[in-house]
């Protein structure tokens, strides 16, 4: 579903990603881990189409197409969803309006009719219960005045309503108390399907106690320093990131 080849990305002339290779198949969950500043979030943002980054080399194919030929909105309509690390507040725009506009943009793109108000509300209410969100938050401006946990749950709600093919979750677990973490993890786990791929970007292993990934990748200094199964995450939890970084620095020097 997603094929990243030798991806180099820089911001303000500074190279953040220095040759990423990653293949994610439908039905798989991949965890991308790494210390702060390793380029995890950059990878997530570039895949969603943020334009403040410069792709200097490499390619990304999504469902066989050149991802970089698509605008952010085209990517969204084609089924890519990014759960933001810092969900953005939009004063004056009701949460439920954004859900509806996003879903309709996607349905229209696929040649489907708009959902009528009754079906739409039923769909949203159903998902709302699953992520444990208060219905009142639907009618408040997007993310404005939401607690940290409410913002993260709101991202999961959007994801659940939009049912993406490729979901990228950027540190969705950060800053959550244990109840919110459980709710968010359940929401993500419920999204697992044979025709969907999920990329979990995370600093900590604790989210992976709830969602067991097919593969774990460790990013260090803009490269994937190590890949493995779920046991790699537990090793990181035990040993920290320093040994991977040291190894990466070693390879970097050798190259």
């Amino acid at each position: 579903m997603l094929e990243i080849t030798n991806l180099h990305v820089s911001v303000d002339g500074k190279e953040i990603l220095r040759g990423i290779d990653l293949v994610v198949q439908a039905g798989e969950v991949h965890a991308v881990m790494g210390p702060n500043g390793s380029g995890k979030s950059t990878l997530a943002q570039v895949l969603a189409g943020r334009d403040s980054y410069t792709v200097s080399a490499g390619s990304v194919r999504y469902d066989g197409r050149d991802l970089f030929a698509l605008s952010p909105e085209e990517r969204a309509r084609e089924g890519i969803f990014l759960a933001f690390q810092y969900p953005v507040e939009i004063p004056g725009v009701a949460n439920i309006y954004l859900l509806k506009a996003a879903l309709n943009a996607q349905r229209q793109h696929r040649g489907l009719p708009e959902l009528d108000a009754v079906d739409f509300l039923a769909l949203v209410r159903d998902q709302l219960k699953r992520v444990g969100m208060d219905e009142a938050l639907l009618y408040r401006p997007v993310n404005q005045g939401f607690s940290g946990g409410e913002k993260k749950r709101n991202e999961i709600l959007q994801m659940a309503v939009l049912q993406p093919k490729l979901a990228i979750l950027d540190e969705t677990d950060s800053g959550l108390d244990i109840d919110a973490l459980k709710a968010v993890a359940d929401g993500i786990e419920a999204m697992r399907r044979p025709d969907r791929a999920i990329i979990l970007v995370t600093h900590y292993q604790r989210l992976l106690d709830y969602i067991v990934p097919n593969q774990v990748h460790v990013l260090a200094q803009g490269r994937i320093a190590r890949s493995g199964g779920p046991e790699l995450a537990r090793e990181l939890e035990r040993r920290g990131y320093a040994w991977v970084e040291a190894a990466a620095a070693g390879t970097g020097a050798a190259a």
Binding site: P72, F84, V93, L98, A101, A102, A105, Q106, P141, L162
Partner: protein, 449 residues
């Protein structure tokens, strides 16, 4: 004498015979004084501090008719114009229509007014009961207004307007819509409204200026409002003049003990528009709220000058203006709050926020606080910003097109002012106008909130 002012002066002197109130010595004297004042001042220039950013050279150089074309008396308004005006009427409101500055009773609807309320044409009232007006008209010193020349021209040349008098303790349940429609090209109209709310009365007023059939003209209007003790007036000004029109307006309110005045100015139309709102908190415990929203696109120039005078202790004023500037649009906001020496325990807050959508758009904002008392609570602030790229990216990452994201965020910024309007029918109308006027609106949003 100002040479430039010669031509209009001559015209206005000749116009006198056609104006209402002939044979009323006090009015004739007042009009003559106004002409003399204009002769002395002429039109304001960029050298006047209050007109530093707004040139009226285009008005000065234009040639206007001072009387509507013969045979176009409002009574004979065409069916087409009548239908267009009907569409402007606000559901549920009492309606007073003025076409090209003249009252059009056939298009107006005043039957639902309660007892104790007088709503009449000013011209008609000058003919039938001038004594009701004498104490009020000319009470405000036109030469003291920053509108200067325009206020003088209005006094010298006003042909009609609304006279509204609400008796003590009477409440108008339905809003009163004063609808000024321009249909004649090149016409200069001077309209004058006098609104008197006696003690404890309540009134919601919508002063709307629109064009149907005309694009370029001058509309110069003065509205004086007297808010009696414990009375409450809400004044909504809706300016959607023609694309080449000049709009100059003054709103003057005087607040008595414990009264409330809520003003909201929505400025969407005209090529050049200037609105001055002056509020005097003349007795204790009076409260005013000044809201505003201006949109300038293309080459529009929209200027608001507001002045709130806290003259006595314990007055409260709140001011909140927002502006959206697109294309080569330009706006001026000058908000002055003066806390006079005796006005202890005054409470004043003022804020102006602007959204610039284009590198060619411009806003000159100047919130001003002048404080002569020492025990007061005052704040003011102004911001000029652009759409937030983080918000745009967030919306695009959810599938909204870039243009739709911009339209939605611009709408959300401006709609805050519309949502503050408590009258549902007016709020709906304003929101529809706002959507239609937003830059690159139309098809950009599949579905509106």
């Amino acid at each position: 004498m100002n040479a430039v002012a010669d031509r209009p002066l001559g015209d206005y002197a000749r116009l006198q015979a056609a104006l209402p109130g002939q044979g009323l010595p006090w009015l004739e004297r007042w009009r003559a004084e106004a002409l003399a004042a204009f002769a002395a001042s002429g039109y304001p220039t960029l050298r006047d501090e209050d007109w530093k950013y707004t040139s009226v050279a285009a008005i000065e150089n234009a040639v206007f008719d001072l009387l509507p074309p013969a045979g176009a008396a409002p009574a004979e308004v065409s069916a087409k114009l009548g239908a267009a005006i009907e569409a402007l009427a606000l559901p549920g409101a009492c309606l007073m229509v003025f076409v090209d500055g003249r009252y059009a009773p056939a298009l107006s609807r005043l039957d639902a007014l309660p007892a104790g309320v007088t709503v009449a044409s000013l011209a008609e009232t000058l003919a039938r009961a001038p004594e009701r007006l004498q104490a009020w008209l000319g009470r405000r010193q036109f030469h003291a207004s920053p509108l200067a020349g325009f206020a003088a021209l209005n006094a010298a040349g006003f042909a009609d307007g609304a006279y509204v008098h609400v008796d003590q303790g009477v409440t108008l349940a339905a809003p009163l819509q004063l609808l000024f429609v321009a249909s004649a090209e090149k016409l200069a109209t001077h309209s004058r409204n006098l609104i008197v709310a006696e003690a404890g009365s309540r009134l919601d007023l919508i002063e709307q200026h629109a064009a149907r059939g005309a694009a370029g003209y001058l509309s110069n209007v003065v509205s004086d409002l007297a808010v009696g003790p414990g009375a409450a007036i809400a004044h909504y000004k809706l300016q959607e003049e023609g694309a080449r029109a000049f709009h100059v307006a003054a709103v003057n309110a005087e607040l008595q003990q414990g009264s409330r005045f809520a003003s909201a100015s929505f400025a969407f139309g005209a090529a050049l528009a200037r609105t001055d709102i002056a509020v005097a908190l003349a007795a204790e415990n009076a409260e005013c709220t000044l809201d505003g929203l201006y949109l300038a696109d293309g080459r529009q120039h929209i200027d608001h000058h507001t002045r709130i005078d806290h003259l006595v202790p314990r007055g409260t004023s709140r001011e909140f203006y927002k502006g959206v500037l697109a294309g080569a649009g330009r706006a001026v906001f000058n908000g002055k709050v003066v806390i006079h020496e005796d006005a202890q325990h005054s409470d004043a807050a003022q804020s102006n926020r602007n959204l610039l959508l284009s590198p060619l758009a411009e806003v000159d904002t100047k919130p001003q606080l002048e404080i002569w008392a020492d025990d007061v609570k005052c704040s003011h602030g102004a911001t000029v910003g652009q759409l937030d790229p983080e918000q745009i990216f967030y919306l695009r990452s959810r599938g909204l097109a870039a243009a739709a994201a911009q339209t939605l965020l611009t709408w959300a910024f401006a709609a805050e002012m519309v949502e503050r309007v408590p009258l549902a029918a007016l709020r709906e109308r304003l929101d529809r106008l706002l959507r239609a006027r937003l830059p690159q609106s139309g098809e950009t949003l599949e579905v509106w909130p």
